[in-house]
């Protein structure tokens, strides 16, 4: 009972369907808004190191000062209401963002002008080379003829979205909504799927049940024992795209108010060394976690950004001797209970994670056993998401498990700037929601980041990143564990052409903005 023509329609597992909200500026917009209905200028594939793919633009160039970005837009693109798409729409979009702070979470500050039908020029106040991904790949372009009349673009629900994407909205109910093919889509012969239905699937259990029952064709959920589950249904496959590194965030900077043994770099080093990552990946990572890098980048995808190939990968087994040595050298002496102490303070650390994140809880349980071998006492604590988040942003923690999110592009600048820049941190007690929760602050790192931001030359950038990498491998404000799995499940009975291990043409998570549009216009009905 999957729609009228079975072969031409598929079902996607959405998270919560809340409000009928297709406003591309809204953070609570429905999943397919970005990428499926609205498109960006360029699209970046996070699954592998690759050149940006042009979408609504066909080219761009910076002026020498790095303050002006000229964008060439694509011809023959029509909004799904039939109006032509031009560079004016691009200029309108960026101006709208610039003058409406509430629409502007990434802090874009460019004013734009369409110099011709296919050329838009964005002008920045300062040198803004690093705004490139945000402008090109993270902003949906909206039609001027519609949005110029919208009074409050922040709260508009945009129930009948007019976009350029491969699909448009057909019907909506809070329990499911349907997109239908955009017949005027600019890319010839695409899409071939007729309808896409989004169904709310709240939990892993519900997702696995729906997959096995053949109710959904595309879902992104971490399913423990995924091989077994895939076997119990027909035509099910999955891909694993580990891209987010799981790290132990440490409140590392005593100068900014952090307290506890983890402020001692030797302790962080010891934890780093005493980890048996093989066991962690197997038990907590469910055997599907990837091997991480001490640079917090992805071995494989980011190899060309990693300065020292020798240190590209994290050690997989525990080196207790080295860990013991590091602790001994720092003056942590083993006490009678097997736990080290220094100046009367026991080497006891609390590590927080979110109640119910069972993989992270397992990391803690396993680590507790592993670290005990070198005289570190680890006390796992589980708190609600809210508390965990509040503690982490306000620095009220010692150790905290988290993962490094995706940057604006695969350029390490975004990860490093986000996690390490002094501008992105705050003293303990103040919210460091910008990302540097470890309260790390190092002038050399800050200088390297500024230098990298000032150039488009990748070799120059790599040299700056090498400096950063050597500092963080030594300081370890974030102790990498492994690269967390990202499982995406497909049903191949109704559609083919899904990303596979060998053909990772997108980061295939169903919730991933932009990429979903690429997937949906690429897959074909199964014959």
């Amino acid at each position: 009972n999957q729609g009228t023509s079975k072969d031409a329609s598929i079902t996607v597992a959405a998270g919560d369907i809340t409000t009928e909200n297709f406003n591309p500026f809204s953070s609570t917009a429905l999943q397919p808004t970005l990428g499926v209905i609205y498109e960006p200028l360029y699209w970046y594939n996070f699954a592998k190191q690759s050149e940006p793919t042009p979408v609504l633009a066909t080219g761009f160039s910076w002026n020498a000062a790095g303050t002006e970005l000229t964008i060439k837009t694509r011809h023959d693109v029509k909004w799904n209401d039939g109006q032509p798409f031009t560079a004016k729409d691009v200029a309108f979009t960026f101006n709208l963002v610039a003058k409406t702070p509430a629409l502007n979470p990434s802090g874009l500050a460019a004013t734009a002008k369409a110099t011709s039908d296919d050329t838009a020029v964005l002008t920045f106040k300062t040198k803004s080379l690093m705004q490139e991904p945000a402008v090109l790949a993270n902003q949906a372009i909206v039609p001027e003829h519609i949005w110029k009349d919208i009074k409050d673009p922040t709260t508009n629900l945009n129930k009948n979205p007019v976009g350029t994407g491969p699909f448009k909205v057909k019907s909506f109910t809070p329990q499911s909504f349907v997109l239908t093919k955009n017949d005027q889509y600019w890319e010839a012969g695409k899409p071939t799927i007729k309808e896409v239905r989004y169904l709310p699937v709240a939990s892993a259990d519900a997702a696995s049940a729906a997959l096995v029952a053949g109710k959904v064709d595309w879902a992104s959920a971490y399913l423990p024992g995924i091989d077994n589950i895939m076997k119990s249904g027909k035509n099910l496959t999955y891909v694993n795209t580990p891209v987010m590194t799981t790290v132990i965030v440490t409140c590392s900077n005593a100068a900014l108010g952090c307290t506890g043994p983890q402020t001692d770099p030797a302790v962080r080093k010891a934890i780093y060394l005493a980890m048996n990552r093989e066991q962690l990946a197997k038990l907590a990572g469910g055997g599907v976690a990837g091997v991480g890098s001490p640079t917090m980048l992805l071995p494989g995808r980011d190899d060309n950004w990693i300065a020292d190939a020798a240190t590209a990968k994290l050690p997989q087994s525990a080196d207790t001797d080295a860990a013991n040595k590091a602790l001994d050298a720092a003056g942590w002496v083993k006490g009678s209970d097997g736990v080290r102490a220094k100046d009367g303070k026991r080497l006891s650390l609390t590590v927080q994670t979110v109640t119910g994140w069972s993989d992270y809880i397992l990391i803690n349980d396993t680590l507790k056993q592993q670290l005990a071998a070198v005289g570190i006492e680890l006390k796992p604590s589980q708190v609600s998401w809210n508390e965990w988040n509040a503690a982490q942003t306000n620095g009220k923690f010692q150790l905290s498990l988290d993962s490094v999110g995706l940057g604006a592009s695969t350029n390490p600048y975004f990860t490093y700037n986000n996690k390490l820049a002094t501008t992105n941190t705050a003293p303990v007690g103040k919210s460091a929601s910008a990302g540097n929760q470890s309260r790390f602050s190092n002038p050399a790192v800050d200088a390297a980041l500024t230098a990298a931001a000032g150039t488009t030359d990748q070799a120059a950038q790599k040299a700056e990143y090498a400096k950063i990498q050597s500092i963080i491998e030594d300081q370890l404000p974030y102790i990498p564990v492994y690269v967390n799995s990202m499982l995406t499940e497909f049903n191949t009975s109704r559609a083919t052409g899904w990303p596979t291990k060998d053909n990772l043409y997108v980061l295939p998570a169903a919730w991933k903005a932009w990429d979903a549009g690429i997937v949906l216009k690429t897959i074909k009905p199964a014959s």
Binding site: N228, Q279, S358, L362, V383
Partner: protein, 310 residues
């Protein structure tokens, strides 16, 4: 459930049938239900008390993954090779602690607001009863959810306290109704006339008559607490970092135990709750029969017979 103040009001006038029975008059008569209930509850309590000493560390992870019962693991292992049986032992202890704590706090609070309020009377009673009624209508579960998401790093003690705070009002109301009826009984008035101190009247003349009712309220509170904790844990809001039947179920559910066919992980904690709850219910049946002796009398069908012995 069926404890109405009306039924309860009969405790005091429940005259035992014969002097022979008088020594154990206040104890429930040993019936099959009671025996089964006590046995099951006893075994579970024993398991909760002693079990943790006999099993290994329940958190120890092993590289063997999800394996079924056997190979030295009585109930198999979890996904990360943790011993399910060991977890069950600790979980039993954890859940029992919650049950006991909630039972005790409920007993204290409901006696205080129900019994003391009704006994003192006047504006104290009005205020207590108003407070009780308000606590009764304030929705418990959402309150618990919110409170427990507020408190950082919940221990089982805290979960128990939260559950108790939101659940005593019902029994306070029942107790108040009964105390009001006892308070105006002639023997209490007689004690007052005799010049007894108020606390002594409460403790010596009134409380003993409340014992069966209190017992049944506590038993209910314990069942409620254990189920409530399980429900909270299922929603991910339960005690963190300690083992209870609820958290075990939560991890089993998160690990898709049921879907992966790992019944040995999913079934035991649920069954343990069910068994323990059932045992307490069976015990409660017997307490009910003391509170309301009418429940003890026999079947109506036997009545319409003229049974002449040959």
């Amino acid at each position: 459930m069926a404890i109405t103040t009306e039924g309860a009001a009969q405790v005091a006038s429940a005259d035992g049938p014969s002097p022979v029975a008088q020594t154990r008059r206040r104890l429930p008569p040993m019936t099959l239900k009671l025996a089964v209930g006590l046995t099951i509850a006893g075994v579970i309590v024993l398991f909760g008390v002693l079990g943790p000493f006999l099993v290994g560390n329940p958190s120890t992870v092993r590289d063997i993954g999800l394996t079924g019962p056997g190979n030295g693991f009585l109930l198999g292992t979890t996904q990360s090779g943790q011993d399910v049986f060991a977890q069950l032992a600790y979980a039993t202890r954890g859940s029992l602690i919650i049950g006991v704590v909630v039972g005790a706090i409920t007993l204290l609070l409901s006696s205080f607001f129900g019994v003391v309020g009704a006994f003192v009377g006047g504006s104290t009673d009005e205020a207590f009863s108003l407070f009780t009624n308000i606590m009764l209508v304030i929705p418990g579960l959402p309150l618990v959810i919110v409170i427990s998401s507020y408190v950082p790093n919940k221990s089982i003690w805290l979960v128990a306290a939260v559950l108790a705070i939101t659940s005593w009002a019902g029994s306070a109301r029942v107790l108040r109704g009964f105390t009001l009826s006892v308070r105006s009984r002639d023997y209490v008035l007689a004690a007052r006339i005799g010049g007894e101190k108020r606390w002594r009247i409460l403790a010596v003349e009134i409380l003993p008559n409340l014992i069966p009712l209190l017992a049944s309220q506590v038993v209910f509170a314990v069942i409620f607490a254990i189920l409530g904790e399980a429900g909270l844990s299922f929603l991910g809001l339960g005690a963190s970092g300690s083992f209870t039947w609820g958290t075990m179920l939560f991890y089993a559910q998160n690990g898709l135990a049921l879907r992966l066919g790992a019944w040995w992980w999913f079934a035991p904690p649920g069954l343990a709750i069910a068994l323990f709850g059932a045992a307490l219910s069976l015990i409660n049946f017997s307490i009910d029969e003391i509170i309301n002796p009418k429940l003890r009398s026999q079947t109506r069908a036997e009545r319409n017979t003229w049974s002449v012995k040959p």
